[in-house]
């Protein structure tokens, strides 16, 4: 197809022209979103950073050895042989970082998906249906919200002798959905009362379609931000669990790296190569996703678009 031409609002005498709002003529809403998405610097830039780390986490572990093996001289600064140096025990920090990235993406993605899906289901159902259904769902949400997660996790840890990253991700996901459900429920309450929902009902649309095609798009950028927050929160929560010894019993993660670095006083010993890379990686990934969210807001909301 030929590249669509952006046409600004004032193309006819009768149009209540809104200056500075760009639209694309003759295209569907999805193609139009894509048109603005690829032209949004925040979105593309943020995505680039995330993709670089994701690729590093996916491909990197294949190129390096066992992250826990004692391979090099202890506490060596970055050099040609070990680009990010070694730990106090002579483990390759680069190998740990690449494996840790993989574990971090796994924990963040799986936990965010589980929590996001549960939160959306509970929030949309309660918010749209209202009444008794909402009362019950809200009660469950509140109960999970006030559960002392750490205590529960300790009990779970006592039963599960071997825990891998995936189990950790599932446990985090099952306990971090309540705030999502509450926020989506509140938003749905407000959007449900709008007249465009009445119009959709008058158009014979079934409830599920109204929720996902009319209400959800109005908080699309919010839903995306939910995943970003859940992702970042899960990564940090995983690090917390690692710290108190409830982390994965096998493998390595960025949180475990930070924890080990702290435990072996890397900061006091000036071994910056041990804790800066994992800290920077977490910050860069979560930060890039926040920037992406701002960009997505502009893509989804025509009023925020720059011409």
């Amino acid at each position: 197809m030929t590249a669509p031409e952006p046409v600004s609002g004032e193309s006819g005498p009768e149009v209540a022209a809104v200056p500075g709002v760009a639209t694309v003529r003759g295209t569907g809403v999805r193609r139009e979103a894509l048109y603005f998405a690829v032209r949004n610097r925040k979105l593309v830039g943020g995505l680039a950073v995330v993709v670089v780390f994701l690729l590093a986490g996916l491909v990197g572990p294949l190129l390096v050895g066992d992250p826990l093996a004692y391979v090099g001289p202890p506490a060596a600064a970055p050099s040609g042989e070990y680009p990010l140096g070694t730990t106090t025990f002579g483990q390759d920090v680069l190998a740990q970082l690449l494996h840790g990235l993989r574990a971090t993406f796994l924990v963040g993605t799986v936990a965010a998906l589980i929590a996001g899906v549960i939160g959306m289901l509970v929030g949309f159902t309660g918010g749209y249906r209202g009444g008794l259904v909402d009362e019950v769902l809200n009660m469950i949400t509140n109960i999970v919200l006030v559960l002392p997660v750490l205590a529960v996790l300790m009990i779970i840890a006592a039963y599960l002798q071997v825990r891998d990253v995936l189990v950790q991700a599932v446990i985090i996901g099952l306990f971090s959905w309540p705030w999502v459900a509450r926020a989506i429920r509140a938003q749905t309450f407000s959007l449900r009362a709008r007249e465009f929902v009445d119009l959709a009902r008058l158009s014979g649309m079934p409830v599920r379609r109204i929720v996902f095609r009319e209400i959800a798009p109005n908080m699309a950028s919010y839903l995306f931000m939910v995943f970003i927050l859940l992702f970042g929160g899960s990564v940090l929560f995983a690090a917390t669990l690692d710290f108190i010894g409830l982390g994965p019993t096998d493998g390595i993660s960025l949180g475990l790296m930070l924890n080990h670095a702290k435990q072996w006083s890397a900061m006091n010993l000036g071994m910056w190569w041990w804790f800066v890379p994992p800290g920077l990686a977490i910050t860069a990934i979560v930060g890039a996703m926040y920037v992406m969210n701002v960009g997505l807001d502009e893509v989804f909301n025509p009023k925020l678009r720059e011409t």
Binding site: V15, L199, A200, S203
Partner: protein, 307 residues
């Protein structure tokens, strides 16, 4: 006389208010009237009188608490899913605020596409385009200027006419127009009013909900005056406006500002209660005092006797 398209029989609506829904608010009380084909009925009342609730109950957007609403011989209060969708093929509504009736994240002409998805999935692209153009022509809209635009790029009048065009895509027999012109300026008002008059010529039953007496008078064959959820007076527009009987109707008519005369607060003497002249012992909510002219008891509030 043509048979009624819609008949309301002692329809009431109770809302639960207050903490835990312990108190009840009677928004609509024992309302009965009917709409016939090719007739405009204006439903007039002050804010909070329940007129919009009646419109929403006819469109099944709000469930009636008691009473029956019959459309073409079937009670619509209990319709669900498929049957409700078929009902909307023949009954449609247009709402007060054109800006909130459109989903702001989508283009305005999506309201037309939704009709196609639900009711005409088999109609070809070309044939559908022709139908859309015909419907737009019927409401004096230029397809060039309104299609493929976002709601905030169109004027209120254009949006409102687009909604009427949407209703015309279906073979409707009933249109509920809820305060359709209150948000429009004077120059576009008359267009929309004349459009409703055209619909009436086509044989549609139109329920015109308004708080503006002169607009109600301009268009309607029948007038229903609503006060605090109950009908106080109804009948042919000429009768209600020419010979208002109920003290509330009189006060309402006297409160319309007129050019060239200063408004005075003279007490109006309604005379003895016309309702109790017909039904001395009480009876139905309204008494027929003349041909096609009904009036409720003159008592305006508790503790004050009628007459």
């Amino acid at each position: 006389m043509t048979p009624a398209v819609v008949r309301l029989d002692r329809v009431s609506k109770r809302f639960r208010v207050g903490a835990f829904g312990r108190q009840e608010l009677l928004a609509v009380r024992d309302v009965s009237f009917e709409l016939r084909a090719g007739e405009v009925v204006s439903l007039i009342g002050e804010s909070g009188s329940g007129k919009s609730t009646i419109g929403r109950m006819i469109l099944r957007l709000t469930a009636a608490s008691s009473g029956t609403i019959t459309f073409d011989g079937t009670d619509v209060t209990g319709l669900r899913r498929g049957a409700l969708k078929e009902y909307y093929r023949r009954a449609q509504g247009v709402f007060q605020d054109p800006f909130s009736t459109y989903n702001p994240v989508f283009k305005a002409d999506r309201v037309l596409a939704m009709i196609r998805w639900s009711y005409f999935p088999d109609v070809g692209e070309q044939a559908w385009r022709q139908r859309v153009e015909d419907a737009l022509a019927a409401v004096n809209l230029n397809p060039e200027l309104v299609l493929d635009k976002y709601p905030h790029q169109l004027s209120g009048g254009q949006l409102q006419r687009l909604l009427i065009a949407r209703a015309l895509l279906l073979d409707i027999k009933l249109l509920v127009a809820d305060e359709v012109i209150s948000m429009l300026d004077a120059s576009t008002r008359i267009d929309v009013l004349n459009l409703l008059a055209d619909l009436k010529e086509r044989g549609l039953a139109v329920l015109f909900i308004t708080h503006d007496l002169s607009l109600g008078n301009y268009l309607a064959d029948q007038t229903v005056i609503l006060r605090r959820g109950s009908i106080v007076e109804r009948g042919a527009t000429t009768a209600v406006f020419g010979d208002p009987l109920h003290p509330y109707t009189r006060t309402l008519l006297a409160s319309v500002p007129r050019l060239g005369s200063k408004w005075t607060d003279e007490p109006l003497d309604p005379g003895p209660c016309r309702y109790h002249e017909v039904h001395p012992e009480g009876g139905p909510p309204l008494a027929e005092v003349a041909e096609d002219h009904f009036v409720a008891c003159f008592r305006l509030h508790e503790g004050r006797k009628c007459g």
